[in-house]
Symmetry: C2
Subunit: 587 residues, 2 copies
């Protein structure tokens, strides 16, 4: 059973709630993308995802990939190649890339929304354009004019795909240990080394694959400051096969139709992107764009798992309501939606999924503003929001998203544990998002170690001020009162915990690192409270099922999820002592 209704109504509501047309749709670069246009594109893409991508999702999981060591080639499951051709034809691939290179010129927010639907309906497939998108961003920022001219048109259209070659056997999180070598030769470089975990490093969907590779020049200083970035195409522009080969595939818990390759570079021809030794810059451009998409994987898979569990629950009868008035005398048992715990599980998923969706697109809109607003101060403010909240979107949404898929499975009982309902695939596919694009703890260190201290705390102060501004703006509104009090408290608590953390962390960085993951989750809950209050404010004066549900779901979040903060605050206050007390042989 593969069930999905594209959540266009919720996406449109979120855009409206955050004032999309005033803030993004009115930017000079995006005049052609007002809410109506965006909604129309979402609908069209939603249809494509539901009708074309979803039917191949379970098939892809079950059939998996074929690797031929003779030819170093990887074949995707049957139907994926034809699907990819349709995807390229649809024009969705380059929707947010510059028109100059054949893209649609649309806002990043729109591209993120398309990525949510693609992930929900076929996560493995969606990773191919996902990686390409990152490469396009890196080239736009750091490529030479010639490189842009040579590579971007086919990457933007999706005719070629891109990869990101960072990890090596001895280095994942710690990229300072990269040892792949790049030796200058004329106007190019010869690269030698082994890269692992390369998503779509080899496949049969496109005629060419362009790798972005981290490597060291001969005169590179050690560590992270000696890394450069190179373009290494599978086929050079003049048609030669470059010696960059897939030597094996990983066997994974999920994303079975997404090839995770070992890639050997054997004197492969590469071209420097950006400055020598400054390669991490380009990587961060790729990664920051990717991190919001990865966060959305938790939203996407939580959403489809929710829809599946709800469909199951609406059909299933089991036991009697504890409230006699709700018992269906004409049947031998009542529908399971009469049971409070079934609702509790469903609402845990719904209230966090819709909150996280709101957060991700709020950040998405600020990405657009930060890059396209004419006013510098406005750009800076938006950029601060994006920088601060990117690690939270990536980590909080993937952790909660995975838990949400598991919660949805619990609603369906044994049925959900079988392949029949596909939830088990969503769970396997969702788990990796907590690991890749920087593990969730790396996000927490980014938040605590880089984003909080940045510009003397301007980023966090800006976010707390924004919550205050929102509360002030709505303080006369009685129908918001039940939310604004707890929001104020949550924001105050976050401020206090941040201050304690800063004080402790200044004296001893281990103190900050020890609490970073729990702090990030506390921040995530607070950010969701802000987002939910915003959504409630947008419901006022409106009638109908959708808005009633929104307000009830917000209440559920405030009463049944936000109080988790109390436990986190208590645990954060304990600092590092109880972790660091152990000798290694006592673990």
């Amino acid at each position: 059973m593969q069930i999905y209704k594209a959540p266009i109504d919720d996406m449109r509501f979120i855009l409206e709630a955050f004032g999309y047309d005033e803030l993004v749709g009115s930017l000079p670069d995006y005049e052609a993308f007002d809410l109506e246009t965006v909604t129309a594109i979402l609908k069209e893409s939603g249809k494509f995802c539901t009708n074309e991508m979803l039917p191949l999702n379970r098939k892809g999981d079950q059939e998996g990939l074929t690797y031929d060591p003779e030819t170093s080639s990887v074949t995707l499951p049957e139907g994926f190649k034809a699907l990819y051709a349709k995807f390229v034809e649809s024009g969705f691939a380059g929707i947010a890339h510059p028109e100059e290179f054949g893209g649609g010129g649309g806002p990043a927010t729109l591209a993120l929304m398309l990525s949510e639907m693609a992930t929900a309906t076929n996560k493995s497939f969606s990773m191919c354009p996902g990686l390409t998108h990152g490469l396009v961003e890196a080239l736009l920022h750091f490529g030479t004019d010639q490189q842009k001219k040579d590579y971007l048109p086919k990457l933007v259209s999706g005719e070629w795909s891109g990869t990101m070659c960072l990890t090596e056997p001895q280095c994942g999180t710690d990229l300072g240990l990269v040892s792949t070598k790049a030796i200058p030769e004329g106007d190019h470089y010869k690269l030698t080394g082994t890269k692992i975990w390369i998503t779509f490093g080899e496949h049969d969907l496109t005629e060419n694959i362009v790798h972005l590779v981290l490597a060291r020049l001969p005169d590179a200083p050690p560590g992270i400051k000696g890394i450069s970035t190179f373009l290494v195409p599978k086929f050079t522009l003049d048609g030669r096969r470059n010696p960059v080969f897939c030597t094996g595939l990983e066997h994974k818990m999920g994303i079975h139709a997404s090839p995770t390759c070992v890639i050997n570079l054997e004197d492969a021809e590469g071209y420097l992107v950006g400055q020598p030794h400054k390669g991490m810059r380009a990587m961060f451009v790729m990664m920051n764009a990717a991190r919001i998409s990865v966060g959305l994987e938790g939203v996407a898979l939580g959403e489809i798992a929710y829809q599946t569990a709800l469909a199951f629950a609406k059909d299933r009868r089991q036991s009697r309501s504890l409230d006699r008035a709700k018992q269906d005398k004409d049947a031998a048992a009542d529908n399971i939606l009469v049971h409070p715990d079934v609702r509790r599980m469903l609402l845990n998923v719904k209230s966090t999924t819709e909150g996280m969706r709101g957060l991700a697109y709020w950040v998405g809109m600020h990405m657009d503003i930060s890059q396209h607003h004419p006013d510098e101060a406005t750009r800076q403010k938006s950029d601060d929001f994006v920088a601060l909240l990117t690690p939270i979107v990536k980590s909080f949404c993937t952790e909660r998203g995975f838990a949400n898929v598991s919660e949805a499975m619990q609603v369906t009982g044994g049925a959900g544990y079988t392949t029949d309902w596909s939830i088990e695939q969503y769970m396997r596919d969702a788990r990796i998002a907590m690991i890749y694009e920087g593990t969730n703890h790396i996000q927490a260190l980014d938040l605590v170690g880089r984003k909080l201290p940045q510009a003397n705390g301007r980023l966090i102060k800006g976010f707390v001020d924004e919550i205050k501004r929102f509360i002030g703006e709505h303080k006369e509104d009685e129908s918001l009162a039940e939310f604004l009090g707890p929001l104020k408290d949550a924001s105050k608590t976050l401020g206090e915990v941040t201050m304690q953390l800063a004080m402790k962390g200044m004296q001893d960085p281990e103190e900050a690192a020890a609490v970073a993951s729990n702090y990030l989750n506390l921040f995530g809950l607070t950010a969701l409270a802000y987002i939910w209050a915003h959504q409630v404010a947008a419901c006022i004066g409106k009638e109908g099922r959708f808005y009633r549900s929104k307000i009830k779901t917000a209440r559920y979040f405030y009463n049944m999820i936000l109080p988790e903060s109390a436990g986190l605050v208590a645990i954060i206050s304990k600092g590092k002592d109880h972790m660091m007390a152990f000798e290694v042989d006592e673990l």
Copy 2:
């Protein structure tokens, strides 16, 4: 990579900490099973699990099962049949069954410890003797003398296996909907119906399979009070093939080597067990024994995942310690155990796994006391502990165990997401334990709806009194002070929340049902605090690495896990309103 060191030291420590030799080893029935003897058996069984069962675990997952519709036969992965023969030969199968029928006559606690190690090393395989064990229990309680004589010897030895046939397509949780029919015919019955989710319902490990089947007699009243229990062997005692056929296998997320069968009874010959219409009694005997084992699945898989992640972490170097003094100047990066967050994840797993292990075996010891102590009041008191805590062991340990396997995966990063390290299999295998043997919410309803009100609250009062007694006994001991204060607070909070729940639930059962799952988790945390304090008390005056680690781990639990209670208390106080507020079309 399949890594496992049987946790014999911890098991033995737990038995000592709870006074095994005084409480169980000295019971007249168990004089032959003192701590030394039990330890020797644990060691022998641990060797069998590690050397014989573990090597086939991943192979079983990858190879899976073969079903032949022509012959309705199921073939297990290569090597499983030979392994099973060795298992029967070892004598572990019947270790806790009566000597009268060829068993070892040992305590249930010992059998539980063996089941933990078997689950850790090969969960699929372990389910076959696990189900047989339940059938033996049911026959011992409700079988006629002739039935016992005919069936028990070969079930106890493991030459035959048992199943539990409850679920039908229209009924899982709600067994009142069972529709399988049993028509009397001479001295037996003819059964017709379809059963699903039948674990080891068909396989090639044993020469016979004995099903315990829930069905209705022609004159049965509707609902749960019209269910009777029947023995339905695959081969009758005179060697005829009974028409009870496997018509298909489920395709599952995990436990790939454990056949989950659809079983068709087509006028199959069956024999009544126990009284007509009183079949649920026998089922509850089977299930209650099984629920502690299922709880231990979370301990078992959390343990092996922990050991695997720790082995990975000890080997892996990545990034630098934030504490310069800990940096290894001779290497390019430090071992990841210098990072507080890696320790946090490992200790989340270790502190809960060891706590849950203690809880399960404390309950196990009270199972033995409740059945074998000469004094009735002592038996009753122990029986109260078992009844109260069984749903907590089943639900809390499986939920936390699943989360623990996921946490262990996070320590290993991408490596853990591949099949190479096997953690991904442990996660897939662990997930079902939250669903079967009564879903975790059914456990919570059992706790709140049956166990709390039972005998006017005697069970919960007895447990709270036991905590008070423990605190009183140790109140002069300064080295326990840091634990006794928080334990007292936790116990007081549990008492208060229980009282609120009872008051609300009396007026409106939906209020109790709505908070039951969170209440069970609060209870679980409090129970673990009690167990950890007990473990600390057993360390006093002892020296060495093991005891130092225990005390530090207890501190970790009290400071970094127990405070989660704060969030649960806040959420429980909100009751049912925010779940029940939704119309179905608003979900």
